[in-house]
């Protein structure tokens, strides 16, 4: 999937202004936005999902224009068909695991699932190993189950693009190792392109194909392959120590 993003947004929060001016053009199926907290990674991801509206610029994903300030194009979030995994998962606390995964099929008025939707939900519950907790509520789940439920819910929309905000931040180390591999596996099988946010270099090496590094609201350097990123990072580290 080709990402052609060039956006700017000025955010004022608690009397401080933050200028986001992010520009990258990269062709990748597993893209990571990497950088320290406060670099503008989450804002960028939200702009991709249409959850915030940039002040200027354009977002072109594949052959679709999702946002173009100049042309007056702003595809609403619900029409972009993105699967979004929030940092703390944002599972609906008043719905069971099963209802969360089925949430994409819900209408404004309660109604039964169609046979096809039912089947799709059951398959997701099985493939994410959460079928046995289907009647539990999110606050009764372990961290790993919560993450898998969030992933299953996001994939239930059959998204064009999967967006993940720090998907491993809330997990302990052993779980993190396993779920990284799981995520790559899910991406390869579903062939849904994904963008993930992280500040953990290990996430890049394990999960990403390409890396865009953000710092203070800007892209630092060029987008690069995750494989060469590790050597580049090593080189920078060596350069830093030899100074």
């Amino acid at each position: 999937m080709r990402f052609d993003v060039d956006i700017g947004k000025c955010v004022v929060a608690q009397g401080r202004t933050f200028d986001l001016a992010v520009r990258f053009c990269v062709d990748s199926d597993r893209l990571a936005l990497f950088g320290p907290s406060g670099a503008g990674k989450s804002l960028t991801l939200r702009a991709l999902a249409g959850l915030i509206r940039p002040d200027r610029g354009r977002i072109v994903i594949g052959d679709q224009v999702w946002f173009d300030r100049g042309a007056g194009i702003d595809v609403p979030t619900r029409a972009r068909r993105v699967g979004y995994v929030f940092q703390d998962y944002a599972l609906f606390p008043h719905r069971t695991v099963e209802q969360n995964v089925a949430a994409a099929h819900a209408h404004w008025w309660p109604s039964r699932l169609t046979r096809d939707a039912r089947k799709a939900v059951d398959e997701l519950l099985d493939s994410f190993a959460i079928a046995e907790v289907r009647r539990s509520y999110p606050d009764q789940l372990s961290g790993g189950q919560r993450q898998r439920t969030a992933l299953a819910r996001a994939l239930a929309t059959r998204p064009r693009l999967l967006l993940l905000d720090e998907p491993f931040a809330a997990l302990d180390d052993t779980l993190r190792l396993r779920l990284r591999a799981d995520l790559v596996d899910v991406q390869r099988r579903s062939r849904i392109p994904m963008v993930l946010i992280t500040h953990d270099p290990d996430d890049l090496i394990e999960c990403a194909e390409s890396v865009v590094t953000l710092a203070q609201g800007h892209v630092a350097g060029d987008a690069m392959e995750a494989a060469s990123w590790s050597t580049a990072a090593t080189r920078m580290a060596v350069a830093a120590t030899s100074d």
Partner: protein
């Protein structure tokens, strides 16, 4: 229970029920608007909507008389097109009680809507929800507890309404004489036995409402719903 106590009680319940319904519909709408949209003058609107809570009920009643009386354009329009007369009628008592009770629902609803995690609404949007679906499937189910508690307080407040009701609906036994007004009249007429009965009934209703309201807030999660 004798007719002297029963008639005001039934009238009060009828008036309070209608007033709560009106106040809840208006309070939820206003609460949702103010919680959702940031606009200039929001604080002023908020203050005006809360005004009935702090204003003397007689002053409020006077405003309502001026607004809905025979001589006002609004009052004439209501009478001519809808056939609703508000002065010295039980419908007038409903309007008076609804206005007085409104801030309680409005305040509770606004707080309840603001307490809903914005990420949950964002999640709904990424799942393809329209604004209507978002409200019925996410926002309202998470906020209804606070709204219900506010509505119960509004009901209790409407039952106790005295000043504005007296101004607008007057004190016509059997037609507009609610419990609070009947109590006042019973005490004034020296009928202590009747006053005692009415006071006891009012107290019980209010205590029940308060206990129920706090119970709603505290109780666990919703029953599992259909998918």
């Amino acid at each position: 229970m004798d007719a002297a106590a029963l008639i005001p009680l039934l009238l009060t319940l009828k008036v309070a029920a209608w007033a709560t319904l009106l106040a809840t519909v208006a309070g939820v709408a206003a609460g949702a608007l103010l919680a959702k949209f940031e606009f200039t003058g929001r604080d002023v609107v908020d203050a005006i909507l809360l005004l009935p809570m702090v204003m003397p009920p007689t002053v409020l009643g006077y405003y309502l008389l001026v607004a809905f009386g025979r001589r006002s354009a609004l009052g004439q329009w209501l009478e001519n097109t809808l056939g609703i007369e508000l002065v010295f009628t039980w419908q007038g008592a409903v309007v008076a009680a609804a206005v007085v009770a409104f801030p309680l629902v409005f305040k509770a609803a606004r707080a309840a809507f603001e307490a809903v995690d914005p990420d949950l609404e964002r999640a709904g949007r990424t799942l393809g929800y329209t604004e209507a679906t978002l409200f019925t499937r996410v926002t309202f189910p998470l906020a209804w507890r606070g709204i219900a508690a506010g509505a119960m307080l509004a009901f209790a407040r409407a039952i106790g309404e005295f000043g504005a009701t007296l101004m607008v609906a007057g004190n016509i036994p059997g037609r507009t004489q609610t419990m609070s007004i009947a109590i006042y009249e019973a005490v004034y007429a020296g009928d202590d036995a009747l006053a005692n009965r009415l006071v006891l009934i009012s107290s019980v209703v209010c205590v029940v409402m308060l206990v129920a309201a706090s119970g709603i807030i505290k109780r666990g999660r919703l029953r599992p719903q259909r998918l």
